[in-house]
């Protein structure tokens, strides 16, 4: 007879002294871990609920301006430094870590309409023209008004000026990757792209309504997003302007400003409806909406270069600092915290489409004004859609063409 009984030595499973860590032997055999999927589901549900519990995005409000904040600029070298220009011609330099104003400069008599920093971080430019942007590598900058002017820092006259028709141009932006490319938007509803090397406009696209500003994707050179008056944002591929890549619609009033995150995966938009929203580039619905009771029409917004914070300047003279990820824990994380965070993130991703989890993660509180506006616009949209369907139903087949949502707002593309 040969016999062996299972006989464990307790010393190998129990810690020796109280100062030791507890011993935890693992066995990953699936039969010892039953109900894997339901338990993961419950964990994902808990993680989603906790995310909503800990979603406290508002960090600070920087006050000190004596008129509405009209423009913001990031410092290219220092994360903590921010510049802001107000409607009374005052420019303030802020330190975000101390949440204090470092310097105040009376720059102009009237509005500070545009502000930008030089790539080296030593100087900044403000303008009373409608917009300004600095070249990303060379000592050049562009302003816009009746035409787009490109200036050399050392010269008093513009080195070239470009126009396409007669209209007032509201903003101009350099492409951060293909640095000789410029985009501008004008009040006659068009977006024009220029090439600095040829000193000529490339092409333009005309939309239904006026575009307020555009922002280039910092990761994909050919993608830019336009903030439009018709409550929507349009992400375009520069090579095919006739169809926007995505129409982002969640705002209930004109969109005034837009800024990309440094990863190029998301962007933030500021709107006249007193809220800011964060959109993923590939999705038409926003992932997040930020609002406070006291925040009025948001005029400018910036995503900080460390991808962690968002700043917005609004009518009521304040600059507000938000977390880009509402439920993120600030400060140093321990390795266990980090592991738990990563695990929860993966679980949330895995089960994101389950109805119960989706409902919880999508739920946002909205101020009454925005909420009622959304309801109203939903009714209007439904009516329009119904009419379209009826028209399609009762007309000769083929006579009414279905125009997709994306193409609906594009009037023409001119080259």
């Amino acid at each position: 007879m040969k016999v062996k009984m299972l006989s464990r030595n307790p010393d190998t499973y129990v810690r020796e002294t109280k100062l030791d860590l507890q011993k935890v032997p693992r066995n990953y055999d699936p039969t010892l871990h039953p109900f894997e999927v339901p338990r993961e589901y419950v964990r994902a549900l808990n993680a989603t609920k906790l995310e909503r519990v800990f979603a406290k995005p508002f960090l600070a409000s920087l006050d000190g301006h004596r008129d509405g904040v009209n423009c913001l600029a990031k410092h290219p070298k220092s994360l903590a430094t921010v510049l802001s220009g107000a409607c009374d011609g005052e420019v303030k330099i802020w330190n975000l870590s101390q949440r204090k104003c470092i310097r105040t400069i009376q720059a102009h008599e009237g509005f500070v309409r545009g502000i930008c920093t030089r790539f080296c971080g030593t100087s900044f430019f403000t303008t009373v023209y409608t917009g300004i942007d600095h070249h990303w590598k060379e000592p050049l900058f562009a302003t816009c008004g009746q035409q787009v002017d490109i200036w050399d820092e050392q010269k008093t006259n513009p080195i070239c000026s470009m126009t396409w028709g007669f209209d007032s141009i509201s903003s101009v932006k350099f492409n951060p990757i293909e640095t000789f490319l410029l985009g501008s938007c004008a009040s006659d509803r068009n977006i024009v792209l220029y090439d600095m090397r040829q000193a000529t406009p490339l092409k333009k696209v005309i939309l239904d309504m006026r575009t307020n500003t555009i922002c280039w994707n910092p990761m994909e050179a050919f993608i830019f997003t336009a903030a439009n008056e018709d409550y929507n944002l349009y992400t375009f591929d520069m090579r095919a302007l006739d169809t926007p890549v995505m129409v982002h619609m969640d705002h209930v009033s004109a969109v005034l400003d837009v800024d990309y995150s440094p990863t190029g995966k998301e962007f933030v938009s500021a709107s006249f409806d007193k809220s800011i929203r964060i959109f993923p580039v590939a999705r038409s619905q926003s992932r997040e909406v930020y609002h406070t009771k006291r925040m009025q029409h948001v005029i400018c917004v910036k995503w900080t270069s460390d991808n962690k914070y968002i700043m917005c300047g609004s009518d009521e003279m304040n600059i507000r600092l938000w977390k880009a990820n509402a439920s993120e824990k600030l400060g140093v994380l321990t390795s266990r915290e980090k592991a738990a965070k990563d695990y929860n993130q993966k679980l949330k991703e895995k089960f994101q489409h389950y109805p119960h989890i989706k409902r919880i993660s999508r739920h946002r509180h909205l101020p009454k004004s925005i909420y009622s506006q959304i309801q109203e616009q939903r009714i209007m949209k439904e009516a329009r859609r119904r009419k379209e369907v009826n028209r399609l139903k009762h007309s000769k087949p083929g006579s009414v063409s279905i125009v997709s949502k994306k193409k609906k707002h594009i009037v023409a593309v001119v080259k």
């Binding site: 040969k2 009984m5 299972l6 006989s7 129990v14 507890q22 032997p25 066995n27």
Partner: protein, 621 residues
Amino acid sequence: METAPKLGRDVPPKKDKLQAKRKKPRRYWEEETAQSAAGASPGPPSNKKRNQELRPQRPKNTHILKKSRISKKLQVPKKPRERKNPESQRSLSGAQDPFPGPAPVPVDVVQKFCRIDKSKKLPRCRSKTRNRLKVAETEEEETSVTAARSELLLAEEPGFLEGEDGEDTAKILQADIVEAVDIASAAKHFDLNLRQFGPYRVNYSRTGRHLAFGGRRGHVAALDWVTKKLMCEINVMEAVRDIRFLHSEALLAVAQNRWLYIYDNQGIELHCIRRCDRVTRLEFLPFHFLLATASETGFLTYLDVSVGKIVAALNARAGRLDVMTQNPYNAVIHLGHSNGTVSLWSPAVKEPLVKILCHRGGVRAVAVDSTGTYMATSGLDHQLKIFDLRGTYQPLRARTLPQGAGHLAFSQRGLLAAGMGDVVNIWAGHGKASLPSLEQPYLTHRLSGPVHGLQFCPFEDVLGLGHSGGITSMLVPGSAEPNFDGLESNPYRSRKQRQEWEVKALLEKVPAELICLDPRALAEVDVISLEQKKKERIERLGYDPEAKTPFQPKPKQKGRSSTASLVKRKRKVMDKEHRDKVRQSLEQQQQQQEQQQQQQHKQEKAKPMRARPSALDRFVR
């Protein structure tokens, strides 16, 4: 065990070759090694030929997972590296890695950890989704390989009992085993002589550390059976039908004559649950925190012990219920009925999920194994049957027992114990969680009284038996899982660890609605509601947004084939299927006609055979 001797056999020829090679003129690195440690490190092979000879030996000893991407990756770049510079693999010391590349992983272990069913094809979907699924699949494969590698770290080996050449293990007595094993294991065999309080029911806690038992005459006790430390002992002065630990050893549910009571480990009565009356059997679902009770009134009641609410009370409509067990794989409750059926219940559904006719005559006992694959039943017809629970519900094994088994239990490694009168038989299969063969018992044991309850102790090679003479703890080598998971159920956990585990377990309490036959169903795509959604969307929009636009001929471009001929060619291909179908149907029609004609011929031939036409011919069709 199997690979070790083979490896040993292969090693010596390698050494011989290396010794032969050492007679050649030495390189600078060989001199160093020879002086410092003679023969310790094998020098590098001098030419490519030898290297090639050595290499193919490796796959012979151990079967490598051929599909795994890891092993493939590493095999491919080896060749070009050697061609460029044959000395690149050698280190400065001259030592060469005798087992280059990742360690081979046995296929069957990887299979155990594989969660994706590869026999199923990927569904037809967009390329983006398809790519994502493919990536997930490869990730899954890699994780299963890593998990299989971690198997190496498991500390304990399962127990076994083997007879020497033809000796029947069933004839080995407990006393012999106790004599043969070490003292610590021998101490696990004990008898409690409690004749006074009648037949006992026993229950081990989930960690296998604690034992609770309740006698018919009201004796209830709980103890740490390893150290033999008594936790509590009370007499409830009422008949005890069943006893069960809740999620931890601190709580104890006792089904008494009238109502259900919950005691703590001091023996203090915490709750008296009057909603559950005349309970005969108890089952605790640890991941759902549900206490399932079967009553004389024919109700199956689920009590959520974390919030103290009754989740569902199901009327089985089959009279008195006194045979119940749970399926540990999917938390479905199995009820045995007096008409020979076993019904499967979930609290989410009012009707039984499945009804299986198992026996002629009533069902006496039911047990389900830990993987949820097999169900053993015994009935009044003295039959013992093992059913397949993987969808077919067919009997796999059956045998008649002289007395018929009154109590059944499966162990963690798939041993089946049956209590028949005062005899206990245990059957074993080959390997872990395999189907036990019912011919020859693995072990038998005779008790001092008829068996009233039995359960295998988790993580210990012990079978607990409650009988009219008291409690017996019987040694069954090879019954338990040797390696426990410290985060799931740890027999050696401290109080702090138990408290932390309790909080975690309560946080991830699985809702009762999720109990169904396939616990992985939650992770699968709900195709039906998806189709329904699609349909509704098309109705709402008035057109199908995902429909493909019909083919539009392009305006003619430069080149040989005109668009017209292109269209024609495409149409031809499109029509080909249609034509094939028409052709087939025509052939079928012809065949049918021929058959009919033949039949008519036969009938015409058959008619004249009869002498006279009958009057009933009119009704022939």
